[in-house]
């Protein structure tokens, strides 16, 4: 039998290294997590993950993450739009600043946000005058989540927007469409897959964010305690199985959410399937 020649060399080696890497860095810790959680009996497991305090933390985390993602969807898209479509002084600087939340240690971001939004802070003081409290409330959690996850939306939408053929918009104009209807019927549908990718990353990051939130959240059980913190508290108490159990719920949520967005993306991209 003749060996099949490949144009690109090194597949077995590259594939091997990649699989080992994925196994060690990604699968092994997750397996350890599941294994630890599984050391609890089903009744204990259920009791821990359905305790009032845990359920309250899910509610806080998920609602804040949803709100932060919705905010990022609008402003991330606007930011990407401005960066791609307009040329203004300082554009490169703004473009570079978008990545700052990735580069900044999240704890630093959390402390900075807390300082700004505390009742005597630069933003917190004027806001408290109109009766809005940000620091130590769910609103603060949302601010921290938005801050740390907005680059995901900008960076996924930006390249797609750059590649969008200007002739598509011109075609819409020659056919008599208004700017709004061109945006809604032509541009937005073409951006949808990228937006979904950005939204799912942003949401996942918001669910898992820890460092930035714990400084600004106040961390009151039942009102401003996020799930990641609860898992951490159990860890501090040396209650590893309980911590793993709570973490497993977050893991499952992340999986379900990624699956849903993938399905939605496939649907949004169905026109690219060749027939």
């Amino acid at each position: 039998m003749r060996l099949r020649r490949r144009v690109l060399p090194g597949l077995p080696l590259a594939l091997g290294i990649t699989l080992v890497y994925v196994a060690i860095i990604v699968v092994l810790p997750l397996a350890a997590l599941v294994f630890k959680a599984a050391s609890l009996g089903p009744e204990d497991y259920w009791r821990i993950i359905s305790s009032d305090r845990a359920v309250a933390s899910y509610r806080v985390t998920v609602t804040c993450a949803l709100a932060a993602t919705a905010f990022n969807l609008v402003f991330g898209l606007a930011l990407a739009w401005v960066l791609v479509r307009y040329r203004f002084p300082g554009r490169r600087l703004v473009d570079a600043l978008v990545d700052l939340p990735f580069a900044l240690p999240t704890a630093v971001a959390g402390i900075a946000l807390t300082t700004l939004f505390a009742a005597n802070g630069w933003f917190g003081e004027p806001l408290s005058l109109v009766g809005i409290k940000v620091a130590y409330t769910p609103l603060g959690i949302m601010v921290a989540m938005s801050f740390t996850s907005i680059p995901f939306i900008v960076r996924t939408v930006q390249p797609v927007l750059e590649e969008l053929d200007p002739a598509l918009e011109e075609a819409g104009q020659t056919l008599g469409a208004s700017d709004l209807s061109i945006f809604v019927t032509v541009i937005l549908p073409l951006l949808t897959p990228a937006l979904l990718a950005g939204v799912s990353l942003s949401f996942a990051r918001s669910l898992g964010e820890f460092g930035a939130i714990i400084f600004i959240a106040g961390n009151q059980p039942f009102s401003t305690e996020i799930t990641a913190l609860l898992a951490f508290i159990r860890l501090e108490e040396y209650d590893y199985p309980a911590s793993a159990a709570i973490a497993s719920v977050m893991l499952l949520t992340a999986f379900v959410m990624l699956a849903i967005t993938n399905l939605m993306q496939a649907r949004a991209l169905r026109y690219t399937v060749r027939g």
């Binding site: 002739a167 011109e170 819409g172 104009q173 020659t174 008599g176 026109y271 690219t272 399937v273």
Partner: protein, 340 residues
């Protein structure tokens, strides 16, 4: 709809500028804007569409000054070089787009009926539910045409409509577009850099160079009487020989050609490769064969005159002379121009 361009100017920092172009297009006429890249032809088309605003001058649709009318209200159908079909909409949805966003409300049934009618017109009836990514380039261009026609435009504008297609598809589509134009009688302006396409398709050809019109006329007129050396060269293969003009004659290597109306001084004669005969007796310009290239239907001969100027000409496949043979070039239909 009659279109009139009155001394239209568009300045660009780059080369695509238009320097004062005036042009009349009669209702129902099919006119080609022909020119090399950078001649401003696409810019002119985009100004007629309203996708680009003129810096000076005016564009009239009939008696109406359309210069300041925004593109969406101008009532033009525009076909883009790379189709610009909406990739996330089916063929049918693409064609229906203009009717759906129109201020004139149409019932879904009326829209569906019109889509069907247009699909029949462009002979793509079976492809209504395909996406643009699933059909061929030629089919996409026909969908683009149907989409442009759906809103009953006053003028049809096509930007290098066949530029991205294979030669065969191109020829078929060209004939087909002419047929559609004759059926609908819509005023049509199209841009091309392909002289064959312009001559094949248009009632009238407008030849542009460096942002200015250099000649306009029927394909026959521009082919038989190229206004200058640029047009002569641009319309097809041409030989060029340096000449000296004295008293109404152009002299090249001791041979004189008629040169009525060309001022005395240095000049040039241009002629097509098909308008040369090879002679062994003393008629014409003395030359020597440098190379013979074979083609399916002819032989192309590369020759050098005694004064060292290169000439190419076509002969019958039976031509037997070879490299190094000496003889004479008998030139028919030479065109004499002053030196550029």
């Amino acid at each position: 709809m009659k279109i009139r361009l009155d001394n239209v100017v568009k300045e660009f920092e780059t080369f695509r500028a238009v320097h004062g172009v005036s042009l009349d297009i009669d209702s129902g006429e099919l006119v080609a804007l022909l020119g090399p890249s950078g001649s401003g032809k696409t810019t002119i088309l985009r100004m007629v569409a309203g996708l680009e605003y003129a810096d000076a001058g005016a564009i009239y649709f009939g008696d109406e000054n359309a210069t300041e009318i925004p593109v969406r209200d101008r009532g033009v159908g525009f076909v883009f070089q790379h189709y610009a079909l909406f990739p996330h909409m089916t063929v049918g949805e693409n064609i229906a787009f203009g009717m759906k966003v129109s201020k004139i409300k149409r019932s879904p049934q009326a829209i569906a009926a019109r889509v069907k009618e247009l699909l029949d017109l462009v002979q793509l009836s079976g492809l209504k539910d395909r996406f643009p990514g699933q059909i061929s380039g030629g089919q996409r261009q026909r969908v683009a045409l149907a989409r442009a026609l759906a809103v009953d435009p006053r003028v049809l504008l096509l930007d290098e409509p066949f530029g991205a297609l294979d030669a065969n598809v191109r020829r078929d589509l060209r004939r087909w577009l002419r047929k559609i134009h004759d059926e609908l009688g819509i005023t049509t302006l199209f841009v091309t850099h392909d002289q064959e396409e312009a001559l094949d398709l248009a009632d009238r050809v407008v030849i542009l160079n460096k942002g200015k019109i250099v000649q306009e006329g029927t394909p026959e007129a521009v082919c038989r009487n190229p206004a200058d050396a640029f047009v002569m060269n641009f319309l097809g293969d041409a030989n060029r020989l340096e000449a000296e003009i004295r008293g109404g004659k152009a002299h090249v290597d001791g041979v004189a050609f008629e040169a009525d109306g060309v001022a005395d001084g240095s000049g040039q004669i241009l002629f097509r490769p098909a308008d040369v005969s090879w002679r062994e007796d003393g008629q014409g310009i003395a030359a020597r064969i440098v190379r013979v290239i074979d083609r399916p239907d002819s032989r192309r001969v590369l020759a050098m005159t005694e004064s060292g100027q290169a000439v190419e000409f076509d002969t019958a496949p039976e031509f037997t002379h070879r490299r190094g043979d000496a003889g004479f070039l008998d030139i028919r239909r030479p065109r004499v121009y002053a030196a550029a």
